[in-house]
């Protein structure tokens, strides 16, 4: 893997408009049953503009950032050898339907450990006003070729 990737900041992703039905679909898929995830009235009564996405929904927006990383020509990343090692979400506020979200991915660390390469990518996700919503941090492990 290209060690010079460390510190690289990728351009902002195309804004992602969070749809109410997408939130509901994702909520069903992760067995999230709170009315806040499904019922706009319940969400509004709790002070949200619309239905609230489950915490791991941010992965959908992170994915757009990771796509830029994996498509870059000089990374030395072989996608067929990549395993998802760790994931973390650090949240300022929940994602809600109607949010227009942009992701900026930064490669924060590249390490070699026992023949494997580990890349840590932090994807900062902001709303249309430019305010931070959540940062998604992935550790991807690229297995060695022996």
């Amino acid at each position: 893997m290209n060690k010079e990737l460390e510190g690289r900041v990728f351009p902002p992703t195309t804004p992602y408009l969070v749809g109410r039905e997408k939130v509901r679909e994702f909520a069903r898929a992760v067995f999230a049953q709170s009315p806040l995830n499904h019922d706009p009235e319940a969400a509004r009564a709790a002070g949200f503009a619309d239905v609230v996405a489950p915490p791991t929904f941010a992965v959908v927006i992170q994915e757009a950032g990771l796509a830029l990383l994996l498509a870059a020509p000089d990374t030395g990343i072989d996608f067929s050898r990549i395993v998802h090692g760790e994931q973390k979400f650090t949240s300022t506020r929940p994602i809600v339907a109607g949010d227009e979200l942009t992701a900026i991915l930064t490669v924060t660390s590249i390490k070699s450990l026992g023949g494997n390469d580990m890349i840590t990518a932090e994807t900062a996700i902001s709303d249309a006003a430019g305010d931070h919503v959540v940062t998604a941090t992935s550790v991807l492990v690229m297995r060695g070729t022996e």
Binding site: K22, E25, F26, R28, A29, V30, F31, A32, Q33, S34, A46, P54, P55, T56, V59, V60, E63, V83, H84, G85, E86, Q87, K88, F89, T90, S91, R93, P94, T137
Partner: protein, 135 residues
């Protein structure tokens, strides 16, 4: 919420994952890697079977905490390590169990530690949820 003590069990949860669950998550998340729904592809890359998406396991594992917390607080951080794959049998599926305990109380943040198991093994490591509970 000051009545919480470290080590206290807060809630448990149990979800049966089937191939249907995996296909539904693939569609909802956009992760269509065929190792999550095709036995032949999973076998061809040396896997013990069709696997649940790690992000599906992570996503469902936090739900008991969300339900327990209700409107009494908010999640500020959630992280996991993917330590073992969750093999999903084509017929019976697999039961994933979650136990949530108080891990630490740090000023206004409560750390909740999750134990997540499937097929008699823990499948996530260092699965920690940090929440801010309203006083």
């Amino acid at each position: 919420m000051s009545d919480l003590v470290v080590g206290q069990e807060l809630i448990t949860g149990k979800v049966t994952l089937t191939r249907f669950s995996l296909v539904r998550y693939a569609g909802a998340s956009g992760d269509f890697n065929p190792i999550h729904y095709r036995d032949d592809v999973a076998a061809s890359v040396g896997l013990p079977g069709v696997l649940a998406h790690g992000m599906l396991t992570m996503g469902l594992a936090v739900q008991p905490v969300i339900d327990w917390m209700g409107d009494r607080g908010e999640l500020v951080e959630y992280g996991v390590r993917f330590t073992r794959p969750v093999v999903v049998d084509g017929n019976g599926g697999v039961v994933v169990t979650v136990t949530a305990k108080v891990g630490a109380i740090e000023d206004d943040v409560t750390r909740i530690d999750l134990t997540v198991s499937a097929n008699n093994q823990t499948v996530l490591g260092k699965a920690q949820v940090r929440v801010k509970l309203h006083q």
